[in-house]
């Protein structure tokens, strides 16, 4: 089976999406924008749930915080979108760390319960804190502008959101290959060994919370811009379950999976608008079926078929190149080490 280079695949998807948007009607363009924001949110959930192994129900609350923060920063502080979005992400991240630091001291199941309590708590805050969030009336999001040009149409917003989503995806890939990303997985799978390798389990987990909340916040800001009007009830349990669905169905611990799951579960409901209850039945059914029969999700399925490389976590580390000892490459290899390297680097 040919292994498609993951990077090329992502570029191809980006191009495909752009083509769709170029030739589609405004409603489809709007849905594409939602897809982009869902991708960023789903990546964030995958970081905390898939890679760090923490069952957090608070993710959609962080998304809501990001959405409101973006709108408030733009409306009340007149900040441009490109500044408001990362700041909103930071606000969410801060809340995420504050929630995470005490919460990760309790074990899996109890963490789930604490984060559910947070989810409902923040939902209540969104609805009742009139002075900040405008309460039940919802909050409208100012039109973003780029280089002075207001971006009114969904198509224009798409061109702003696409590079943001791509950047977040790339950052996540870098993170997961880094020392910090590996420490997330180690804390998930071999907690005791992690401690004996010098990893502070509690701060690592809290950091996972913070980073995933940053993603949720940025995704929330992207969501806010797409919908132009924030409804305080949109960040509750249904949203959370949808996000779980995205990650589970797409493939847990897989960035490609987040992409697939987010796209699927944002587009599917559009076909179900007319059928009452169909959205919930579909999500619930899919979640159950996937947990039982395909716990790796779609990405896991593709990976086993060899269609995508295992470059997500658990895959190949960078090949070791000779002469990386930091010395002058013209100096001949001094140690037996370099000779050993040469032997199997040709793979």
């Amino acid at each position: 089976m040919k292994i498609i280079l993951l990077g090329a695949a992502y570029v191809a998807i980006g191009v495909a999406l752009t083509c769709v948007v170029l030739f589609a009607d405004p409603y489809t363009q709007y849905v594409m924008n939602l897809v982009l924001s869902s991708i960023v949110v789903a990546i964030g959930l995958n970081i905390v749930l898939g890679f760090a192994g923490l069952l957090s129900f608070a993710h959609s609350a962080f998304m809501g915080i990001g959405a409101y923060a973006t709108a408030i920063l733009m409306a009340r502080l007149q900040l441009p979108y490109v500044l408001a979005l990362p700041l909103a992400g930071l606000v969410s991240a801060t809340v995420g760390v504050c929630v995470g630091l005490p919460a990760v001291r309790v074990r899996g199941l109890y963490l789930a319960l604490v984060t559910i309590a947070c989810l409902y708590f923040f939902s209540w805050v969104f609805v009742h804190w009139d002075t900040v969030t405008n309460g039940s009336n919802g909050m409208s999001v100012p039109t973003p502008a780029f280089a002075g040009i207001p971006l009114e149409s969904d198509e224009q917003k798409f061109y702003l959101l696409l590079p943001i989503a791509a950047l977040m995806l790339w950052l996540a890939a870098v993170l997961m290959k880094s020392r910090l990303g590996r420490s997330f997985v180690m804390v998930r799978d071999a907690e005791l060994a992690a401690q004996t390798c010098g990893i502070n389990v509690m701060t690592t987990r809290a950091l996972a919370f913070g980073i995933s909340a940053f993603y949720a916040g940025v995704g929330g800001g992207m969501f806010a811009m797409s919908v132009s009007f924030i409804d305080p009830h949109s960040f509750g349990m249904l949203q959370m379950v949808t996000q779980f669905g995205m990650v589970l169905i797409g493939g847990i611990s897989s960035l490609a999976g987040s992409l697939i799951g987010a796209t699927l579960l944002t587009i599917l409901p559009e076909f179900l608008r007319e059928f009452r209850g169909a959205e919930e039945i579909l999500y619930g059914f899919l979640m159950i079926v996937f947990i039982i029969f395909m716990p790796d999700g779609i990405a896991g399925f593709l990976r086993r078929r060899g269609w995508i490389g295992a470059t997500d976590l658990g895959g190949r580390a960078k090949r070791v190149r000779p002469g990386r000892s930091g010395g002058d490459p013209s100096v001949p290899a001094q140690s037996r080490l370099a000779a050993e390297m040469k032997k199997w680097v040709a793979k």
Partner: protein
């Protein structure tokens, strides 16, 4: 309203929370995870009552029977279709599966009952009993009495019936129970049916004085969690005590501070207990702290 009335209503509400908590503790003790689907048992019970009254115009006791049967049936289906295939999975997978089941059931409810809000005319409207000068609404009395009867029935069940004792055995040691020949699947089927029945009973008891809508289960589930966690997830008396404490303190906070805080009191309690003393008031110390 004044203090004795707050307390009475608090006890009545607390009893409902205690029933939900009881269903949760029962499942946690036997299977070691916390299911997220019990809110739907409550919803099933409430809507069963609605149907019995509106469609069949049968009396209250019939509604209770129908509700309990519905709850048991849904519990049975959950166990068979969702839990049993995942018997050897990580408990977090089980939790996620029950979340999926919960959402699926809400969707099913929505097909027929849509987004509307329903209500049942109060059974014995306005009737109240006088107990030492304190007026107690008849509905509240029925709730407490029904719960006490249920507790007694469960006590008899666990202490004197064969299957009841098997449930106790599994909750103490799964391996030990299997070694002496107890079939765990039969036990799980029983606990799920019981949990469903208890949750549905809470629903039918609550129905006459609350608004009915398809996702009404989530709120009561949270209260049930709060009660179970406060009492200690491994303790049945703890669940009861926890429920009563939450029910009463809710009314007091709502009455003397502000009604707007009633909704989030459960969440605040959950967060506080888990962060300060995860084993709750009566739970054993095997839980929680990493």
């Amino acid at each position: 309203m004044d203090l004795p009335v707050y307390i009475v209503v608090g006890i009545s509400n607390g009893t409902l929370y205690a029933l939900m908590a009881l269903g949760l503790v029962l499942l946690y003790k036997t299977q070691n995870f916390v299911p997220f689907v019990n809110g739907e048992f409550f919803t099933a019970g409430a809507f069963a009552a609605l149907t019995v009254f509106k469609v069949f115009a049968l009396p209250y006791w019939a509604a209770i029977c129908v509700a309990v049967l519905c709850g048991a049936a849904i519990g049975f289906i959950c166990e068979r279709a969702v839990i049993r295939p995942l018997a050897n999975s990580h408990h977090l997978s089980l939790v996620m599966a029950t979340v999926g089941a919960s959402i699926l059931l809400q969707g099913v409810a929505r097909i027929h009952w849509g987004d509307d809000i329903y209500s049942i005319p109060p059974i014995m409207s306005g009737m109240s009993v006088d107990l030492g000068g304190v007026p107690i609404a008849l509905q509240n009395l029925i709730i407490v009495v029904a719960a006490v009867v249920l507790m007694a029935a469960l006590y008899v069940f666990f202490s004197f019936t064969r299957i009841g004792k098997q449930v106790k055995a599994v909750s103490q040691s799964l391996v030990g129970a299997q070694i002496i020949g107890i079939n765990p699947n039969r036990v799980y089927r029983t606990t799920w049916m019981l949990s469903g029945a208890i949750g549905a009973m809470a629903g039918v008891l609550a129905a006459p004085f609350t608004l009915l809508y398809p996702d009404m289960g989530s709120e009561i589930l949270m209260k049930g969690f709060a009660a179970a966690i406060l009492g200690g997830l491994t303790s049945i008396p703890g669940a009861l005590v926890g429920g009563l404490i939450i029910g009463i303190s809710e009314m007091l906070i709502g009455g003397y501070i502000n009604t707007v805080f009633i909704k989030i009191s459960a969440f605040v309690i959950i967060m506080l207990v888990l962060l300060v003393k995860p084993q709750g008031l009566f739970g054993t110390n095997t839980i929680g702290r990493v």
